[in-house]
């Protein structure tokens, strides 16, 4: 219906505007499966920004099957997903897990160094919604289940390096979903 309307509308002397401003979220198309045994050495060649430590979601969440909420501890209870504390990382990496490949070893060394120096690692932020948007993670997890992260973030478990799959800062992206699921579209649900 809306599509049709926009089409007809465009004909009505707004085609130009429409084509420019019209945006339909490109559904979460999946990245090519990164084979974990092939270690991409130069992270710059991968999609997405380069992180201070080449943390591999595809290994942690993918191969090792660690649930998202193990690290992003507050996603189920709070608006904020929570960034794992350095301690959480060290829980495994202090002694036990030292990395399978030399490349991994290097990265884990970085982690230990940072922890011992008590210098928190400044991860490059990938998903951010505008200041005037309030996105309660907890409610969405509650409604869609703990596996729902991929709905917005894409299948991180297959990403050697995380990149933006959906423009989560685009209102259309939110609204499409809210429309499909017949949940509130009231402005003050997110904007206050």
């Amino acid at each position: 219906m809306r599509k049709w309307f926009f089409a007809g509308f465009g004909v009505l002397a707004m085609a130009a505007v429409a084509s420019v401003t019209m945006f339909r979220p490109s559904g979460a198309q999946q990245p090519a499966a990164a084979k974990s045994n092939i270690m991409p050495v130069d992270t710059g060649s991968l999609k997405g920004p380069r992180q201070p430590i080449f943390f591999r979601h595809d290994i942690h969440a993918g191969q090792k099957q660690i649930p998202c909420q193990y690290c992003h501890y507050s996603v189920g209870v709070s608006n904020e997903p929570g960034i794992p504390s350095m301690q959480t990382c060290m829980g495994c990496h202090s002694l036990a897990v030292g990395g399978s490949t030399p490349e991994n070893k290097v990265e884990i060394k970085k982690l230990r160094a940072a922890f011992n120096a008590r210098k928190p690692i400044e991860w490059v932020r990938i998903h951010a919604v505008a200041r005037h948007v309030h996105f309660p993670h907890s409610r969405h997890i509650k409604a869609l289940g703990p596996q729902a992260c991929a709905t917005c973030h894409g299948n991180v478990a297959r990403m050697p390096q995380v990149y933006k799959v959906n423009n989560v800062n685009n209102m259309g992206f939110c609204i499409t979903c809210h429309l499909e699921r017949k949940v509130s579209r009231d402005c003050s649900t997110c904007h206050y």
Partner: protein, 1001 residues
């Protein structure tokens, strides 16, 4: 929309510097939802009580004044963002005054000192290291051999005790100094009962309250507690209500809330009190009668300007209502006859048999010393008796009158040390500054009265490089050794906990302390009230107090509600929150009666020069009918020469005119007469009120108590009184709009509106509201409302989403001058006129009955504000969001509410962020919302509990009961906008015949 992101939120780096790194490893995720944050910084170690996005609450105690109210500190990601009252606390029971809430701006004050500083030979400040600083301090103190003076402004607490012991160990001399320390009362209590302490007054129990100059709703005594009590007895709940009378030369906020203002010249309150006591004693046959023979009403009538039977009637009513309560004191009544006044009032209470009923001794701690002891101290300084002086948590050089040459005496001391957190007048004179930690950063406690131990615990890493003065002392002690070597606790925290352990006497101290900290302190049931024994009284001979100077006008300085003794003057919230009576912001002024103003030919804003034998001052005129023609009133608190960017050079300090001569053990604030001269200069008064009269529009409706008891509606009451025809719609109009709204609603069952939703509503009981403006500050704190500053207030551009409207009644042709107060916030109308006019749906109606405002959609046509009959929409004319919060003030911002950019309209949202988060929580727990689960910031803070909020569809919600009250009415009903806010008419405890309010309806 990108500019939304520019909004000055929390600058992460700054924040990291403040919180992140040091020890505890708090971290910053707050404002996670801002695009500006380009990197995410994890905790080093996850602190178990901090979950990002979820506020953590700590109990603590307010250290803004010495009443020791308990507070809950709301923190997000390790930074306090709001102070609220601690409901368990016996003093303030969950509410907090403006000054208390503004404590946050003391914590984050941009002018806080970054670390210890020493004055070099050139008189400039050098930043130094703490070790160095403490070493210097220890060296000097160690060498004093007893010539050490300590001025301690921190009230009764473990720390004060330690400081006293410490000083004693050094044979030093300590003064626990409070500027407004109510000495006359204590001296009078000596006279009356031979005891030095102060009673606790039970306003809640009193049926008849007479205040002789005591501003018990403003600055006199434990105001939050007293206001709660006053609201309990004087607020109307379908029964009898207490009657309040104020005797004094100025219509203060307290007087404005009384049912009657007995306007007598400064000094003659004493006579009124005595005459009343005379009558009452005669009635009750009290022992004090003998002392009062000389004070029959007839004898005092002419000196007070009242008629004898006025006084008699007052006295009879007072005697008839038992228990009643008479209070006296306060700066406004601190003239040379103050002791007599308080003594007289004590006798009055005795005669009426209130002692032990509403006047209860035994609870209050021996109050701190004041002028009577600080003045001799300074005399000794001037005689060079001290080598070192340590000033802690006090600013005597501002709070004492200049004429006393205190600064000069102070300079006589060789080495002067201050622990001020901001460079105030006293600190500026010092040689060494050891900035203390703020109350929210340190371990400490307060004992406002017996049985109450209020605890302070650090809830945030030090915002600036301060150090707990306790630690400074302990470390210094070790360096000094000798007598003070015994002060060897490894830290003040350790010392304090050890002291607590002693006082706890519990088996499992650790657990008990954790519980106590959770409750914010230890509150043992108030000790049994002890009945003081009346000192045998001989016949009294009261002399009328004298005033210095040849001037024609008595100068009456009074403590400002916002600035108290001046400590509030560096907090934008307090500066922009208008004075409840004059509605002036950011300024000080001199109140002149209209007749006098006419006589002097001065207008509002004109600058006059006041001259007293002790000094001169130039102040701008505010013409005020609530002050006697023979009296000028001026607020204390402004006129700082130091004290940071907000306070410095702002306003004038009336103490410059006050004489320092004492002789009786207290400072006679009201002891000077001034003469006035026009200067021809003009400075616009930054008032926020437009026309202070209701012009018959029924904005704030009132009714005499008789009608209220008859369960009349305001409508009926006005009719019964024969006061103006109702403004509401005539029959035909009613018919025309009947069912219109419902019909419309049926036509709007689309989308979200089709489903079931709660409907949020509010009720305000005007018979409880005193206009104290605590709710305004709460609103500023909760909703990140920017302060705009004096220049913008000149253009009436203040952003107070919640404002207290103040209207005057009477005052002309013999009618008594009365004030009406009402909080006015967005009324969230069902037929909101602001909504349909917005071209972009920025203003619209939510499914749960809120009048939504989508800031990021607003283009700023401002039509909504034009069309709002209540004018409660506020526009960001300039980039206030960039000017209002200089770092680190921005850390106080509530991350759940965005800061609005310039060019958008904003307004009260019924704290939608609180509603939504409560809904989220409920959803996570698969349950429905409970009534009272959502409390708006204003309702939460109100000391008299005048505001109720809730779901009006829930039949047994408290707010519904209020809305169904017969006193309920909505503002501007005739506009048929159907507000969601119901007001309960104010009830005046006066005879129906005496009912004024011609201008209400």
């Amino acid at each position: 929309m990108t500019d939304q992101a520019e909004a000055s939120g929390v600058d992460r780096r700054q924040f990291l510097k403040v919180i992140g790194t040091a020890g505890a490893g708090a971290a910053i995720l707050s404002g996670c939802s801002t695009e500006r944050i380009s990197t995410l910084v994890p905790y080093m170690v996850q602190s178990e009580d901090q979950v990002p996005g979820i506020p953590t609450w700590y109990a603590s105690t307010c250290s803004e004044c010495n009443n020791g109210c308990g507070v809950y500190v709301k923190t997000r990601e390790g930074r306090p963002i709001k102070l609220e009252g601690n409901p368990d606390h016996p003093v303030n029971a969950g509410t907090l005054c403006s000054r208390g809430q503004a404590g946050l701006q003391a914590l984050y004050n941009p002018d806080r000192l970054a670390g210890p500083m020493a004055k070099n030979a050139a008189g400039k400040w050098d930043a130094i290291k703490w070790d160095d600083a403490i070493a210097r301090f220890a060296a000097k103190v160690g060498a004093t051999n007893g010539e050490l003076a300590v001025i301690n402004g921190y009230s009764a607490s473990t720390f004060s005790t330690m400081l006293t012991k410490w000083t004693a160990a050094l044979n030093g001399f300590v003064t626990n100094f409070q500027p407004f320390s109510r000495e006359p009362e204590r001296l009078a209590n000596q006279k009356t009962w031979g005891r030095d302490d102060l009673p606790v007054y039970d306003f809640a129990a009193a049926k008849y309250i007479v205040s002789f100059g005591a501003d018990f709703l403003e600055t006199w005594g434990s105001v939050v507690e007293q206001q709660r009590g006053f609201a309990t007895s004087h607020g109307f709940n379908d029964g009898a209500m207490s009657r309040a009378v104020f005797v004094g030369p100025r219509l203060s906020l307290t007087a404005a809330n009384a049912d009657e203002w007995v306007n007598v010249p400064a000094g003659s309150e004493t006579l009124v009190a005595l005459a009343m006591a005379h009558v009452v004693a005669a009635k009750t046959g009290s022992a004090v009668a003998s002392a009062l023979t000389a004070y029959a009403p007839e004898q005092v009538a002419k000196d007070t300007g009242l008629t004898a039977d006025q006084i008699t009637k007052l006295a009879n009513a007072f005697a008839a209502a038992s228990p009643s309560l008479a209070v006296a004191g306060g700066v406004g009544a601190q003239h040379r006859g103050a002791i007599d006044l308080c003594h007289a009032v004590n006798l009055l209470n005795e005669a009426a048999g209130n002692v032990g009923k509403t006047v209860m001794f035994g609870a209050a701690p021996s109050a701190s010393e004041g002028y009577g002891s600080i003045q001799p101290l300074f005399d000794r300084m001037s005689q060079g008796q001290f080598q070192v002086v340590l000033v802690h948590d006090a600013n005597p050089l501002f709070t004492l009158p200049k004429s006393g040459k205190f600064t000069e005496s102070f300079r006589k001391v060789a080495f002067k040390v201050s622990t001020a957190t901001v460079l105030d007048e006293t600190a500026a004179e010092c040689d060494l500054i050891l900035p203390n930690l703020h109350g929210l950063e340190r371990w400490d406690d307060l004992m406002p009265r017996k049985g109450v131990l209020g605890m302070l615990q650090p809830v945030v890493e030090p915002v600036r490089g301060g150090m707990h003065t306790g630690d400074v002392l302990l470390q210094a002690s070790q360096k000094i050794g000798g007598a003070v070597a015994s002060f060897n606790a490894k830290s003040y925290e350790a010392y304090l906990k050890a002291e607590w352990e002693k006082s706890f006497k519990s088996s499992d101290f650790a657990t008990d302390m954790r519980e106590a900290l959770g409750r914010g302190g230890v509150y043992t049931a108030s000790t049994t009230v002890d009945q003081p024994k009346l000192v045998a009284t001989t016949a009294l001979a009261v002399t009328t107090p004298t005033f210095d100077g040849p001037g024609d006008y008595v100068l009456m300085p009074y403590p400002s509600m916002q600035y108290h003794d001046g400590r509030g003057a560096n907090k934008p919230w307090l500066l922009e929150n208008p004075d409840p009576i004059t509605k002036i912001t950011w300024q000080s002024w001199v109140e002149i009666h209209p007749d006098t103003a006419q006589k002097l030919d001065v207008r509002e804003g004109e600058i006059v020069e006041l001259t007293s034998p002790h000094g001169k001052a130039r102040a701008q005129v505010y013409v005020y009918a609530g002050v006697r023609p023979d009296t000028f009133a001026m607020p204390i608190g402004l006129g700082h020469t130091e004290y940071g960017r907000y306070a410095q050079g702002r306003g004038v300090n009336p103490l410059d005119l006050v004489g320092a001569a004492d002789g009786q053990g207290f400072l006679p604030y009201v002891g000077t007469k001034v003469s006035v001269a026009r200067t021809g200069d003009y400075h616009q008064v930054a008032r926020v009120d437009g026309t202070p009269r209701q012009l018959g529009r029924g904005i704030i409706q009132t009714m005499p108590v008789a009608n209220a008891i008859k369960k009349m509606t305001p409508e009926e009451s006005y009719k019964a009184i024969g006061r103006g025809e109702a403004e509401s719609n005539p029959e035909l109009e009613q018919k025309a709009i009947a069912g219109f709204y419902e019909a419309q609603l049926d036509a709007t069952k689309f989308g979200d509106y089709a489903n079931e939703h709660p409907k949020w509503g509010m009720a305000v009981d005007l018979s409880r509201c005193t206009g104290c403006s605590a709710c305004v500050t709460a609103c500023y704190a909760e909703n990140n409302i920017p302060t705009v500053g004096e220049e913008q207030v000149f253009r009436r551009r203040e952003m107070s989403w919640m404002r207290i409207e103040r209207y005057w009644e009477g005052g002309t042709n013999g009618e008594p001058l009365q004030a009406r107060f009402s909080p006015v916030m967005c009324q969230h109308c069902d037929n909101a006129p602001c909504e349909p006019v917005c071209p972009v749906y920025a203003s619209y109606h939510t499914a749960d009955g809120l009048n939504g405002q989508v800031y990021n959609r607003c283009v700023g046509t401002r039509y909504c504000s034009n069309n709002c009959p209540f004018k409660v929409r506020y526009f960001n004319w300039l980039k206030y969001n960039e000017s209002a919060w200089p770092e680190p003030l921005n850390l106080q911002l509530n991350p759940d509410v965005i800061t609005r950019v310039r060019g958008v309209m904003e307004k009260c949202t019924f704290c939608v962020q609180r509603i939504r988060s409560a809904q989220n929580t409920a959803r996570l727990e698969d349950r429905d919302l409970k009534d009272g689960e959502i409390v708006t910031a204003c309702a939460q803070s109100c000391p008299s509990g005048a505001i109720k909020f809730g779901n009006v569809k829930d039949p047994n919600a408290k707010v519904v009961q209020w809305k169904q009250n017969h006193r309920g009415y909505v503002m501007l009903e005739e506009t048929n906008v159907r507000p969601s806010v119901t007001y309960l008419a104010k009830v005046l405890n006066i005879e129906t015949a005496a009912f004024t309010g011609a201008e209400e309806r």
